[in-house]
């Protein structure tokens, strides 16, 4: 959890966002996360079993935002366990592998799972990973049109080449921040998200941990 270092400087943060990565096994969820948090890439990165937790503090529009990133196992049999963590997620990154048609066609299934288990206000984002590969079978246009159909923003990325990886997390964080701000305008305490950010501010002074 190298992200702790960033938060450990005593400056605290302005808000916290819980973000989840989901998608089929082997699409590169952990690789995206490790690239983003630790700026490393290992093609034979280890399998995620159950749920892994990482943290990184980023700057969004001049505000320090602490991202709580939950990485999930892709195998079907973990679904009942991972969905327990959808609770309170403000952002969900839905990942598929552009070199694997099956992972792309399963996106709709994942989308359904999200709708069943996540908050209505959760901000989603569709990501086609491994865009550096020559063996691509899912085109950018296909990804884009699926995203349009589901009403999600869309990004293609490569954890290997570090293409668009930061964009994924920053785009999502900004979208979430906008939602929080608009919820605040609508009336404080209206949405769950607003409550959380208020909570987060309270906890800001003693934030030199996780």
């Amino acid at each position: 959890m190298s992200g702790t270092a960033a938060a450990g400087n005593g400056k605290g943060y302005d808000s916290i966002m819980k973000i989840l990565l989901i998608g089929d096994s082997g699409v590169g969820k952990s690789c995206l996360l490790v690239r983003f948090v630790e700026d490393k890439f290992n093609p034979s990165f280890i399998t995620t079993i159950g749920i892994d937790f990482k943290i990184k503090t980023v700057d969004i529009n001049g505000k320090k935002v602490k991202l709580q990133l939950w990485d999930t196992a892709g195998q079907e049999r973990f679904r009942t366990i991972t969905t327990a963590y959808y609770r309170g997620a403000m952002g969900i990154i839905l990942v598929y592998d552009v070199t694997d048609e099956r992972t792309f066609s399963n996106v709709k299934q994942w989308f359904k799972t999200v709708n069943e288990h996540a908050n209505d206000e959760a901000q989603l984002l569709l990501v086609g990973n491994k865009s550096d590969m020559d063996t691509r079978v899912v085109t950018y246009e296909q990804g884009e049109s699926l995203a349009k159909e589901l009403g999600l923003p869309f990004i293609e990325s490569s954890a290997k080449n570090d293409d668009n990886v930061n964009e994924i997390f920053f785009t999502l964080a900004k979208l979430i921040q906008e939602k929080i701000d608009s919820n605040k305008l609508a009336g404080p305490g209206n949405g769950k998200d607003a409550n959380i950010s208020i909570n987060a501010k309270d906890g800001g002074s003693k934030s030199n941990c996780c």
Binding site: T4, K18, I46, K206
Partner: protein
């Protein structure tokens, strides 16, 4: 059936310890007799004399003395004795049909041994790992692969790989792949089965002596994995992870016994202990890789944990270790709790995050003293396991209540394959039945009869025949009425001069009589019965 299993185990558990001290003395005596020759000579002697209790005792207490060359012999001897091979688990039962989970296996195998620097070693290990897992799945197609099983199997692969590593003329494993389905499962490893020789010939190359040795070792490796999977990991391999989650529930149970305060503070009564999932499913081998560099691996704590599980035949070991680990880090956990209590959206998230941060750090795994004491604790903490209580927390066919129950007796417990497969089939059926249940509902179901809600539920499930009898009697009633109607001509005749007519008559005549009105509500029937036909029945006192 359940009761039989359970009582057998209880009896076995009562037989514990009796001769423990004497074995210790015997062990020390043997050990000193072999003075200067070292553990290798000791193990060799126990192997040749097939002194299983002695080997068991050695594996329980002398992990640190074992090299992997010794370890694999000890593991093989113990595991092979626990589930002796029968005709049924010989080569003819290997199904050539592809298992549904093989694609997932390939995905995970390709991500295994990532930390190894030697590329060719890595490739060989991966090929061997894949071969072993697929062989198990094809032989037992009813088993479902779970992510993490590959981590457990890779521990066995690493222990057995040592010799291959030292053998420069070792053939590429890929070439061996073509033998996969022809290979005879040799169980008596001192004999070269003709099947193996034939299979090797089909591959076109004559094999030299060293390679033969390798093939034999691979057979032993497979037997170890097979026995370990069936006796210790079954619960994780049904169609869902429900029974794995049940096992996880043992962790809060143990923590509550060790430190009720910590249990309360971490809200372990309210949250699902999913934070421990990867460590329990993989017996710590996912988060703590036993290798950085092959050769320096023999003292890995992971091997010690496996030594203890295999020798005590107990899958409580990882659960007890985990609970002890949490309790031993209480101070740090409480500090983290205070720091983070406002940082998380909900309590389960926070507890997961702080436990992951505190428990799964490399520094803890590197702290050998900490682990030595954890292992010792795990050995002596069996008293925390109250089987009577645990029985209501687990499905009756769970490994924790059948084939890997915590015990310290000297003799190895021996199981036969048909019994194990029957247990697994029952787990599969139960898993289907409980699929829509939450973990808590499942526990209620296992407790069958303890709570009133569950008593009814369990009764329905268990006594389907009684309800069949009810149904049958209802059917007979309807049948009898139908026959009566057919006999009398029509329904009106059946009821005409009977009860209903009398009732009508009664209400019609007494409704005006103020003296009887009161009794009308008290007991209309008693008056009815008083009429001529029923006059022999005594009147019921009006005070009623």
């Amino acid at each position: 059936m359940t009761d039989i299993i359970f009582n057998k185990q209880l009896l076995r558990n009562r037989n514990v310890l009796g001769g423990g001290r004497s074995l210790e003395e015997k062990f020390l005596l043997h050990y000193s007799e072999m003075n200067g020759k070292g553990p290798a000579a000791f193990v060799q002697k126990s192997l040749t004399s097939r002194d299983l209790p002695m080997l068991k005792y050695f594996a329980m207490n002398n992990s640190g003395d074992m090299t992997n060359a010794l370890r694999k012999e000890v593991w093989y001897t113990l595991l092979n004795a626990q589930l002796p091979s029968t005709k049924m688990n010989d080569a003819d039962s290997i199904k050539p049909k592809k298992h549904k989970d093989e694609d997932q296996v390939v995905l995970d195998v390709n991500r295994s041994f990532g930390a190894l620097k030697n590329l060719s070693q890595k490739e060989r290990l991966r090929a061997l790992l894949q071969k072993m897992i697929i062989k198990i799945l094809r032989k037992y197609p009813q088993l479902n692969y779970y992510q993490g099983y590959h981590d457990v199997v890779s521990v066995f692969v690493l222990v057995f790989f040592e010799r291959l590593n030292k053998n420069p003329t070792f053939h590429s494993i890929k070439r061996e792949e073509c033998n996969l389905l022809n290979e005879t499962m040799d169980t008596d490893n001192d004999v070269i089965e003709p099947g193996i020789a034939n299979a090797a010939e089909t591959c076109g190359d004559a094999i030299d002596e060293k390679d033969t040795k390798f093939v034999l070792d691979e057979t032993k490796l497979f037997r170890c994995i097979e026995s370990f999977t069936l006796l210790y990991l079954r619960d994780f391999m049904t169609d869902s992870l429900d029974f794995a989650v049940d096992q996880l529930k043992m962790i809060p149970y143990l923590i509550k016994k060790m430190d009720p305060e910590l249990y309360q503070i971490l809200h372990l009564d309210k949250i699902e202990p999913f934070f421990a999932l990867s460590d329990i499913l993989t017996i710590f081998s996912h988060n703590q890789k036993p290798y950085e560099d092959i050769g320096s691996t023999e003292h890995s704590i992971i091997f010690f944990i496996f030594d203890l599980i295999i020798s005590t035949q107990s899958m409580y070991i990882p659960l007890i270790i985990y609970a002890n680990l949490v309790v031993s880090k209480k101070a740090t956990l409480l500090m983290e709790y205070d720091l983070n209590v406002a940082n998380f959206e909900n309590i389960p998230d926070m507890v997961h995050a702080i436990i992951q941060k505190v428990i799964l750090t490399q520094t803890i795994f590197d702290d050998e003293n900490c682990w030595r004491s954890l292992l010792t604790e795990a050995k002596i903490n069996n008293s925390l396991i109250d089987l009577k209580h645990i029985r209501g927390m687990l499905n009756p066919y769970s490994v924790l209540l059948t084939t890997s129950v915590s015990h310290h007796q000297l003799e190895l417990q021996v199981y036969d394959l048909p019994y194990i497969l029957e247990l697994f089939d029952k787990e599969v059926v139960l898993n289907e039945k409980c699929k829509s249940f939450s973990a808590n509902d499942r526990q209620l179901f296992y407790q069958g009869g303890r709570s009133s809600y569950n008593r009814i539920f369990y009764f329905f499930e268990k006594h389907k025949t009684i309800f069949l009898i009810y149904k049958l009697s209802l059917f007979l009633l309807v049948f009898a009425i139908t026959v009566k109607i057919l006999k009398d001509g029509h329904l009106k005749k059946l009821v005409a001069r009977t009860y209903f007519q009398r009732l009508h008559h009664y209400y019609g005549t007494i409704i005006d009589s103020s003296s009887t009105r009161k009794r009308l509500w008290v007991d209309p029937l008693s008056r009815l019965f008083k009429s001529a036909k029923y006059s022999h029945i005594p009147d019921i006192p009006s005070s009623l």
